[in-house]
């Protein structure tokens, strides 16, 4: 029996299909999931996801933000804020987002009240960088 991957975001389902295996960016390091993986709950950080399709189809890449993953015997459910498949990423937009966030971060004083904004910008930069990275990876 194949493995079933579902990527769910608050704005809807981003991916749902039967797959061979998936590599996910866990907070404790990247890890791969194959069929009959042990039941697992863990957190993800912004990073690339490599999806190997069923029947030896070519790898597909996607960029996810931070979130969580629940692995059971035959289901992998990824809960993230955003997920974009490599083919849908516009590298120019991602680059622009990164530059804007970096610019604002530089202009931000070290004051304590800016802490939340600073964390947000750092996260935005990390996400944009992942997108730029993933955009370059075609299904090779």
């Amino acid at each position: 029996m194949a493995l079933e991957l579902t990527i769910v975001t608050p704005e809807g389902e981003a991916f749902a299909s039967a797959i061979e295996s998936v590599v996910l960016p866990g907070t404790e390091g990247e890890f791969g999931v194959l069929e009959a993986h042990e039941r697992l709950l863990t957190a993800l950080q912004p990073g690339p996801v490599e999806i190997r399709g069923a029947d030896g189809a070519a790898s597909q890449w996607a960029a996810v933000t931070d979130g969580f993953v629940e692995v059971t015997g035959e289901h992998v459910v990824v809960l993230v804020d955003h997920c974009i498949l490599a083919g849908d990423i516009d590298a120019a937009t991602a680059e622009k987002d990164r530059a804007e966030a970096a610019e604002e971060l530089r202009g931000l004083s070290g004051a304590e009240e800016n802490e939340t904004r600073r964390e947000e910008l750092e996260k935005a930069i990390a996400i944009a960088e992942v997108r730029i990275d993933v955009a370059g990876r075609t299904s090779a």
């Binding site: 608050p10 957190a43 969580f68």
Partner: protein, 294 residues
């Protein structure tokens, strides 16, 4: 005698109003459909998040996360009041504001101090006038609700809560019950409601599957998940508010269109009467004129 031209001018002005209200009704109907789809799209994520959170919370009983624990004394309450940006939606915003005001009075009577965060321009305008000292932050919703907006607001609320600036956060918004009914509701957003956490633990225990392996550990995972749960609750409130706004506007504009129809009917009647009166008096003049000549 009413002037014929004046009446005709009024009729055409009401007709123009009717065009606007019926166009707004149709726009609201289209937006409502999209808003309802957003609510549907958000549901699977919210449900899965809830299940996962309940499992993690249940597996970890010793040191509960601060966002899940009720503080012993609640001195400062933050109100997050959600309304729409724009009016012309009947009593939609007024109902939420009334509900919020009643809750605030209760808190003040209990000797608690208030802080207000608003989402939606209508709420901001209201509190800028009525409670300018307690209004700490206000957000506009802009065109269409995105999860990032909810996360943005949520992070600031959590930050204030964790820093001890507030002891409780109450969310007031309109629940989208149906197209005809939007109900103002309020519930405690942070700490994640006590009743709910009890229920969370219960549902987790009834599951007969073996528990998941949790990495790195339940405490750390819970620390990451609890803020997300707050953001999801906020996102849901914003979506319900959005759908409710369009539904309320649709109903309001439907009524307005109906009123313009009645008004046009009445004015047309009046116009015809005036026209006939004019013809009659003209005839009388001609007849009297003819009789005078004889």
């Amino acid at each position: 005698m009413p002037n014929l031209r004046d009446i005709r001018r009024r009729i055409s002005s009401v007709e123009k109003t009717q065009q606007i209200t019926s166009a707004m009704r149709m726009v609201a109907a289209a937006k409502l459909r999209r808003a309802q789809e957003s609510i549907e799209a958000a549901r699977p994520y919210a449900e899965r998040m809830r299940n996962t959170l309940s499992e993690v919370a249940a597996s970890q009983t010793d040191a509960a996360h601060p966002l899940l624990v009720r503080r012993e004394s609640v001195e400062k309450v933050e109100f997050v009041v959600v309304t729409s940006d724009r009016g012309l939606a009947g009593a939609f915003n007024a109902n939420v504001l009334k509900r919020a005001e009643a809750m605030m009075k209760k808190c003040l009577a209990a000797g608690q101090t208030l802080e207000i965060t608003t989402a939606g321009r209508k709420a901001s305008e209201h509190y800028r006038r009525h409670r300018p000292d307690q209004l700490v932050e206000s957000y506009e919703l802009g065109g269409w609700i995105s999860y990032d907006q909810a996360a943005h607001i949520g992070r600031r609320i959590i930050h204030r809560y964790e820093a001890g600036e507030v002891d409780e956060v109450v969310l007031v918004y309109s629940e989208f019950v149906s197209i005809l009914t939007q109900r103002p509701v309020s519930h405690v957003l942070v700490p994640l409601a006590a009743a709910e956490s009890a229920e969370l633990v219960e549902t987790a225990e009834t599951s007969d599957l073996p528990p998941h392996e949790i990495e790195p550990d339940a405490e750390k995972l819970l620390a990451l998940m609890a803020p997300t749960a707050v953001e999801v609750a906020l996102y849901r409130a914003l979506l319900e508010n959005q759908a409710g706004e369009h539904a309320a506007r649709m109903t309001a504009m439907e009524n307005a269109t109906r009123n313009t129809k009645d008004l046009i009917e009445r004015l047309t009647l009046e116009f015809n009467r005036a026209r006939q009166a004019a013809i009659t008096s003209e005839l009388v003049e001609i007849v009297t004129g003819a009789q005078a000549v004889e």
